[in-house]
Symmetry: C2
Subunit: 320 residues, 2 copies
């Protein structure tokens, strides 16, 4: 079985230099910049690992794996325009480094490139993988739209929030696993179980992000703690707290604070008082539990799953 450490250089090698010397430069240089900015390469690695669960030959899933990473980076590029985000992975975003038109068009071209990576699959895998990919791509857009819609809705329900993060984050992780499985030769049932596994992993991952943004450790989380609170962002914590005590939360979000640090302390303490930290931990643990259960039900030798289990354990260790 390939380990994460072995897969990362395989993925990076397939990405490096792919857009060199393509014309027009102004279209392809931003794509190259966005693709080489790093990131954890989670989606291609999941795709390759899933393939490896069912097959020794991971290389047959390499192009689609890069397609999934390309699509993911396309969504970041366009989301950054929509969110007016100036920095991504410690570098200026494409629309800041170049301009907005460049970011729109390079993003469009990136999405097209993502599809290109699927077109050499063997016939049986081609249609099946593309159907999964296309439905997922559509759902990711729907998730982004729901996320933007929530900004102007005063009270978002927790189930709507969970559906939004399923669409915006979990389905692409799940699709990466399912597509890798299909290419690896999994039965339809096993491919669907891998998808379910990915959904629970993705939900856990996003809920953790919400949790860590408030309760994490700056040195390991990699972002400033409390950003979501400062921005009054609708997260699992904020929505759960509002469901428990709407009046209090409204007052706390509208109150004038001496500075951001005071706002962060007051609201963080309120979350603790309302046991929202515990609720979040329970929700995350529940998703991990389901992920393990689904993975166990897949009909392959236990040894074949060990790298995926290790991956899940590493994710989980960010919180627990």
């Amino acid at each position: 079985m390939y380990s994460i450490e072995e897969l990362i250089p395989i993925v990076n090698k397939a990405i490096d230099g792919h857009y060199n010397n393509r014309s027009p430069k102004r279209l392809y240089e931003p794509i190259s910049y966005a693709m080489s900015a790093g990131g954890k390469r989670i989606r291609p690695i999941l795709c390759l690992m899933a393939c490896n669960v069912f097959s020794d030959d991971i290389y047959k899933a390499l192009e689609p794996a890069i397609g999934l990473e390309t699509f993911h980076n396309f969504t970041l590029l366009h989301d950054d325009i929509m969110d007016h985000a100036d920095v991504r992975r410690n570098q200026p975003t494409v629309h800041k480094k170049w301009d907005e038109n460049t970011a729109i068009l390079s993003g469009d071209a990136m999405m097209i490139e993502a599809y290109e990576y699927f077109l050499n699959l063997p016939t049986e895998a081609l249609r099946h993988s593309l159907k999964v990919f296309n439905q997922t791509a559509r759902e990711v857009c729907e998730g982004q739209q729901f996320d933007m819609d929530f900004e102007s809705i005063s009270s978002v329900k927790i189930e709507d929030y969970l559906e939004m993060i399923r669409l915006k984050t979990a389905v692409l992780l799940a699709a990466s696993l399912k597509i890798g499985s299909i290419i690896g030769g999994a039965t339809s049932n096993d491919a669907n179980l891998m998808y379910q596994f990915g959904i629970h992993m993705g939900m856990a991952f996003q809920l953790q992000d919400d949790y860590l943004d408030t309760f994490g450790d700056e040195s390991t989380f990699g972002k400033k703690i409390g950003g979501d609170i400062v921005e009054n962002k609708k997260t699992f914590l904020q929505i759960s707290a509002t469901e428990k005590n709407e009046q209090l939360m409204q007052e706390l979000m509208q109150r004038t604070y001496k500075n951001n640090q005071e706002k962060i302390s007051v609201i963080t303490q309120t979350y603790r008082d309302l046991s929202i930290d515990k609720a979040a931990q329970n929700a995350i643990l529940d998703e991990y539990k389901r992920a393990y259960e689904v993975l166990n039900s897949i009909s392959v030798a236990e040894n074949n799953q060990k790298e995926l289990l290790k991956f899940l354990d590493q994710l989980k260790q960010r919180v627990f």
Copy 2:
């Protein structure tokens, strides 16, 4: 053989209501709006006509035909953001009626929908059609980038301009014909000839647009005459005139005029003095001639091509 008049309602029926009741509304209503705004449905009609050249069953090409129209409307939607265009087909553009974020994201979702329309093709046609479509989609983006690049280049060469309009306009018409041919069961050679036919038709069509914007008749052209001159737009006319007498054209474009009408008259007269109107007519006629030649070399009964010939004749009559 199906006539244009028979094909238009078939296309419109396949488009109407497709996005009704889809959620989130804010994502799908702009798509529905953009798709139902009309337009001449040239691409799906060409796709169906090409299929009809090789097969009696045009319905097997209907979904991909709508996919091509969806892709075309996606490019208009994003181009309108980039060009800051407020009106399209006498209606406010999506980014004006809603906002820019909505236009970016709905456009993205439209591109994904375009691919969806290909995924039910029979296996042999699926990969082949998608490869043609994907290469074309990429080239359309490249064409748009070259077009934007030209705005900041003082002297564009005529061959670079022709390559730009090939990418931005001709390849999608050509691909529509090729994909319809593939689905209709054409040999690879005939499908490629249909593509070449489409390239010449597309070049003629775009060169006509340039010509008619200055020398056309407002009542039949549908747009105000002289818009390109007012905006100093780089067109076949402007670039050809600049190649003939750069100093004069620079002076005329920088001169201060009493009003737009004066600018239009002076520059139109200059084009006539430099015989640019004749040069454009010759370039257009040459493309039509090549289109007819290529069409004649396709190995099907003459009767099968008559609707395509009628289509070409109608296009040509806009000028001659």
